[in-house]
């Protein structure tokens, strides 16, 4: 497996995004999606990207994932430039990405199987992951027999089983109900304490960003650029009780004051775009 033990990987920051910008469309009409964005993520850091919906934060995380190319600027992972999906990057998606034709266990084993990890080792590691996310007793169930929240946990376990250096999470809880996302958020906090995983987390939920992150990157309306970076000085380890602390409330309020104007701009952009589409 890609256990990153060489010296260079040990010292360089996990992820460096330098002056990255991206437009869609062709010569006749270019739609800028991402302004110039620069960001450095340290090893073991949990960074959230937050911004109005449709602002381009998903574009950014998809660039880092290696799923979008043709962007300007540079992305380096552990000091090496990015070229397609990087072996030490894992990802959890907003949509349910579990394979319905595989059982929970087979889903978690999938990446290891493709990489040629032998059966005993991958069984062992997959079971370990299932223990970690508390789905051991569901190992033989198929996704159709699991709830949406459980499926997202399976997708998380599947990504973590590859022992990625960086885990990208693109609004992983957006399609879930409020209570499920609270539970999953708490679980993510617990995992974070245990694994010290580097995470880049995209969300449009203010509370979620503050609760989970070391730093929150607030982004502007489309084309997205960084508006401000908020250091979250809440003590770790945290759990969901943190949401009743005064500091949490202040941080959320501050974050909203940063984003409010952008949200309104984005809203008007969408209105205009829709009017255009109707016309």
């Amino acid at each position: 497996m890609n256990a990153p033990t060489d010296g260079a990987a040990g010292t360089a920051p996990a992820l460096v995004i330098a002056d990255v910008s991206k437009s869609f469309g062709d010569q006749t009409r270019r739609v800028p999606a991402l302004g110039k964005v620069s960001l450095t993520v340290a090893r073991g850091e949990f960074v959230s990207l937050i911004g109005p919906s449709g602002c381009g934060k998903s574009t950014l995380i998809n660039i880092v994932a290696g799923l979008i190319d043709g962007y300007e600027g540079r992305v380096t992972v552990s000091g090496a430039p990015l070229d397609g999906p990087h072996p030490s990057i894992g990802m959890v998606f907003q949509d349910d990405s579990t394979f319905p034709w595989l059982s929970t266990l087979q889903n978690v084993e999938f990446g290891m199987r493709m990489a040629g990890v032998n059966a005993t080792e991958r069984r062992e590691r997959a079971m370990e992951m299932l223990d970690l996310i508390g789905l051991r007793s569901f190992a033989d169930r198929y996704p159709a027999q699991l709830s949406g929240g459980m499926r997202q946990r399976v997708a998380l376990a599947r990504a973590l089983a590859m022992r990625p250096e960086i885990l990208l999470m693109d609004e992983p809880f957006a399609a879930l109900d409020e209570q499920t996302r609270m539970v999953l958020g708490e679980e993510l906090l617990r995992l974070q304490e245990e694994l010290q995983q580097t995470v880049v987390f995209v969300t449009h939920n203010l509370g979620e960003a503050v609760q989970l992150s070391d730093r929150v990157v607030a982004m502007t309306a489309r084309p997205a650029s960084i508006k401000a970076i908020l250091e979250v000085d809440l003590p770790r380890p945290r759990d969901s009780s943190i949401v009743s602390s005064d500091r949490y409330g202040e941080l959320v309020a501050h974050l909203w004051s940063l984003l409010r104007e952008e949200a309104i701009t984005a809203f008007n952009q969408r209105d205009a775009a829709q009017a255009g589409a109707v016309r």
Partner: protein, 256 residues
């Protein structure tokens, strides 16, 4: 006994009674509505004749024809499915051709192949081919982009994604195509046998028809219907066992 079951039983009895009344009334002259006991006797007639031989001939033609049609359909479908431009050009041609009743190609097969087995195998193959290839093409839309992205982020090669994402994701709909293809194959084979042949189940139908042995003809047709229903149910079960149920259906659900 629930009401639903009661309705079913009573309906069957009512149809049988109506049939027997028609038989007794002598409606439709001769043997159009044979007595139920005449039908039962005809059953014996058919089974004691060389019916098993005809069934063997038909099954042989059906097996080879359907197999050829299914394999060609799956391979061509997968090849086209992964080449968007070629697919865009060819798919409408296939769709339009599939609405032509396949049996009209039978005279062409007769001219090129023998009146015997080969022309029936060709009919069965053509019947199976179109549903399979069209369902395989349609199945591409079952592959959700997020699965492909997830597989890429799990560091799979293109070949691995074909084998471990595309094909399993498309399998239920491809299987629906195979099911329909086999049904169409059965129809094609029996129709061809009834048009020009000297053996096979379809030939037996038309033989009894030309001999004016109507009860015997009814019996053979009944057996063909029972057979095709059993095949359909069997394939349905098989699909569920193989976890291939729930493929999406296209509006090309039926073909002849």
């Amino acid at each position: 006994m629930t009401t639903v079951v009661r309705i079913r039983v009573l309906s069957v009895l009512a149809v049988a009674l109506l049939w027997e009344l028609l038989a007794l009334s002598g409606a439709g002259a001769d043997d159009f509505f044979p007595h139920l006991w005449t039908l039962a006797a005809a059953f014996g007639d058919v089974l004691t004749s060389d019916f098993a031989g005809d069934v063997g001939v038909t099954l042989f033609q059906l097996f080879w024809g359907a197999s050829i049609g299914i394999v060609v359909g799956l391979v061509l479908g997968l090849l086209l499915a992964t080449r968007p431009l070629v697919r865009e050009i060819v798919e409408p041609l296939l769709v339009y051709l599939s609405t032509v009743p396949k049996i009209v190609l039978y005279p062409v097969f007769l001219l090129f192949l023998s009146v015997g087995t080969e022309s029936k195998i060709a009919m069965a193959a053509f019947g199976a081919f179109f549903p399979v290839v069209l369902h395989t093409l349609g199945a591409v839309s079952d592959v959700r982009p997020v699965w492909l992205n997830a597989a890429r982020l799990l560091h799979t090669s293109g070949g691995q994604r074909m084998r471990h994402v595309y094909i399993p994701a498309m399998a239920p709909t491809m299987f629906a195509g195979v099911r329909l293809g086999i049904a169409t194959s059965i129809i094609g084979t029996v129709m061809a046998e009834s048009k020009a042949a000297d053996e096979g189940v379809g030939y037996r139908v038309i033989f009894y028809y030309s001999q004016y042995q109507i009860p015997q003809m009814y019996v053979v047709l009944l057996l063909v219907f029972v057979f095709s229903v059993l095949v359909a149910v069997g394939l349905d079960r098989l699909g569920r066992v193989l976890r291939l149920g729930g493929g999406h259906r296209t509006d090309r659900e039926i073909s002849l």
